[in-house]
Amino acid sequence: MDINFSKEDLAFRQEVKDFLANKYPKHVKEKQEKGISLTKQDMIDWHKSLYEQGWAGYNWPVEYGGTGWSPIQIYIFQNELAHAQCPTILPFGLNMVGPVIYTFGSQEQKDKYLPDILQFNTWWCQGYSEPGSGSDLASLKTKAVKEGDYYIVNGSKTWTTLAQNADWIFCLVRTETTQKKQEGISFLLIDMKTPGIEVKPIITIDGDHEVNSVFFTDVKVPVENLIGEEGQGWTYAKFLLMHERFGIAGVPNQIFSLKKLKEITKGRIDDDLQREIAEYEIELNALEFTELRSLAALANGSHPGAESSILKIKGTELQQWLTDIYVRSAGQYILPYEGPDGFDSNSVPSGPEYSHTAVSRYLNFRKTSIYGGSNEIQKNIIAKAILGV
């Protein structure tokens, strides 16, 4: 056993640091450090800089244009990005639909979609949840009926993150009404410009427009946009969810956020809160090493399994705990609201700087224990797959 990174891993880390020092777009970096929201173009610039470095497919195999990095290298990469306060790498193309396409798609589909995903020429969104299908995802009702060379899609999707920016959506649709509800589901790629698609914003409790409703009315989708086999969509969806959960613990970002919290609250908070921060830090250390244990297992050739559910549950609980500590560290200075009728960057209220984003982060992060399969669903998975009950 050896807890230290190998010489090769350390050299790799230096390579990532060099990239971040020299090639991380300056205008994005500045906004990130000042806490200013990024535009769509900023996000595209950020992803393009990764692509130009050859690192967009940081978790993809080499044969599809990925880096072929080991789990430990991916871990180091994500850590360095978090410490440099980089924006998140949007998961919808690179972590979600990309792996589904290169694992289950046809050669034509691989050729058509993968290069654009890597180059971030296309912005993807995820069409899973529906107004009536949350945790019981397989009960989804959006219908795709085959007519000649097309599927005619009718229904609606909800909680669709950043659909307002998206060029494409990957959808779970019902192609057949079967006894077992999982068996009639198919995996369809849909161009957002197709007539009959309407995107409506949903404003969340933090005041932000991040998620949307997407409505489909007689949307014509070419049959060649079906991934794999008709009726096998559930299998692909489960594969994708497993990938989605990986890295969902957000450990690197939490480590950075904790460091910042300690700096900004120095001398400002009472002993009780300092003690609570220590309690949080201890559990974060435990979570970090739990993730390293599962990375080490992955590096040994095992597949991501139900263990990723532990990371999802514990990771999101800790994320929420941290945003809660931020709020309580700021006391009454959290009150001024940023947004319409509130303050903006030209009229910042008095009080500690961090207090102005504390509440919106706290409110925003309530979603983490709900999305990606709610934590209750994750517990069902662990109970069944690991405890065997």
């Binding site: 807890i3 090493f289 069902n380």
Partner: protein, 363 residues
């Protein structure tokens, strides 16, 4: 980074696990506790034959020179079986001090390794709390005077290793249990072990009985406590994983309302929470043993985080296990309550959760 045990370590683990399941059943443990010794000479001799009593000693003293990783493996398995044999006090604690003293203790270590002799370390006092570095016990003019508390396995110790002060610096001395002026009161502990109050009244201490002095004494005592902390934490991780396993098994068998109670989602989720607590504790155990092994500068901070986490997770897992066993959980006949007892005892030893959170903050 490599988080796999070596083949040698895996063999050790398998050997201990096999022994515990074949020769240390819960019924047998109950019988061992019930006899007046409070542990088993037969089992102790088997430990000696298997070479386990030699594990942490240096080669020059006839040991195997194994470190934090192997000790953690041993104690994790001990925790699963709730082993009450005084390995911690004789081999880990006293063993560490004897092995690292500049006074030659090879003859006594040989006796320990062969299984014939127990040695207990007397470092806690009635008013010391977790501050072990300011003993009231004194050695002045060659005479030892003072009282020690919670001396593990005091009744069977042939020697005591005693922390004291000469009014200017700390001393750690080796004292024969049958020396004139030594007396003790032995007690059962609630978790099936034994400890005692030991009094020293004008006990003669020769110069070569002083194992450590001054800064060396402080360093040795601290280091010994660190090792012991790691060991009981590993034991707690073993206790927790076994508790989770037993609780899952029990709920699958226990029928209520015509179905196994494991089919109730509310119980499933509680067991998942128990499982996660055990897993994240194990993560900190692995991190901690590896950092201690490589003498990492953050090792002590991680060790405190481990002990703090064990305090919280151990309590949670132990209490939930009792609750999920219902009335059987509070019955002394069932093993499950004994895991709660041991986990409760472990939190109290070598600094509890509260103590280690403070230590973590200041390191």
């Amino acid at each position: 980074m490599n988080l796999n045990y070596s083949d040698e370590q895996l063999m050790l683990q398998e050997q201990i696990a096999k022994f515990c399941s074949a020769d240390y059943s819960f019924d047998k443990r109950e019988k061992i506790i019930a006899n007046s010794l409070g542990h088993s000479i037969e089992i102790w001799n088997q430990f000696a034959e298997l070479g386990w009593l030699a594990l942490p000693f240096s080669e020059k003293n006839g040991g195997l020179d194994f470190g934090p990783i192997e000790l953690s493996i041993l104690f994790e398995e001990f925790g699963k079986a709730l082993v009450v044999e005084p390995y911690l006090s004789t081999v880990v604690m006293s063993g560490y001090l004897l092995d690292n003293s500049s006074v030659d203790s090879s003859a006594l270590i040989e006796e320990i390794i062969s299984g014939t002799t127990h040695v207990s370390t007397a470092y806690v006092e009635a008013n010391s709390g977790y501050d072990y570095l300011n003993p009231q016990t004194q050695i002045l003019n060659g005479k030892l005077n003072g009282n020690k508390s919670i001396v593990l396995n005091a009744k069977h110790a042939k020697y005591f290793i005693v922390s004291a002060s000469d009014n200017s610096e700390m001393l750690i001395a080796l004292v024969a249990a049958d020396a004139a002026g030594v007396s003790f009161n032995s007690f059962r502990t609630f978790d099936g072990q034994t400890c005692g109050d030991v009094s020293f009244e004008n006990v003669d201490i020769s110069e070569n009985a002083i194992l450590f002095k001054g800064d060396e004494a402080i360093a040795a005592l601290n280091e010994m406590i660190n090792y012991a902390t790691l060991c009981v934490s590993a034991e707690a991780v073993g206790c927790m994983s076994e508790t989770v396993k037993k609780t899952v098994e029990y709920t699958k068998e226990r029928q209520q309302f015509g179905v196994p109670i494991s089919s109730f989602q509310v119980l499933q989720h509680r067991m998942v929470e128990m499982f996660m607590e055990a897993e994240i504790s194990k993560s900190l155990l692995i991190k901690s043993m590896l950092q201690l092994n490589s003498k990492d500068p953050n090792a002590l901070k991680t060790l405190s985080s481990l002990k703090a986490q064990i305090g919280k997770s151990g309590k949670f897992v132990g209490q939930e296990a009792v609750q999920l066993h219902g009335g059987m959980g509070v019955s002394n006949e069932m093993s499950i309550g004994h895991y709660l007892k041991r986990l409760t005892a472990i939190d109290s030893q070598f600094g509890n959760r509260s103590y280690h959170i403070k230590k973590f903050m200041h390191l």
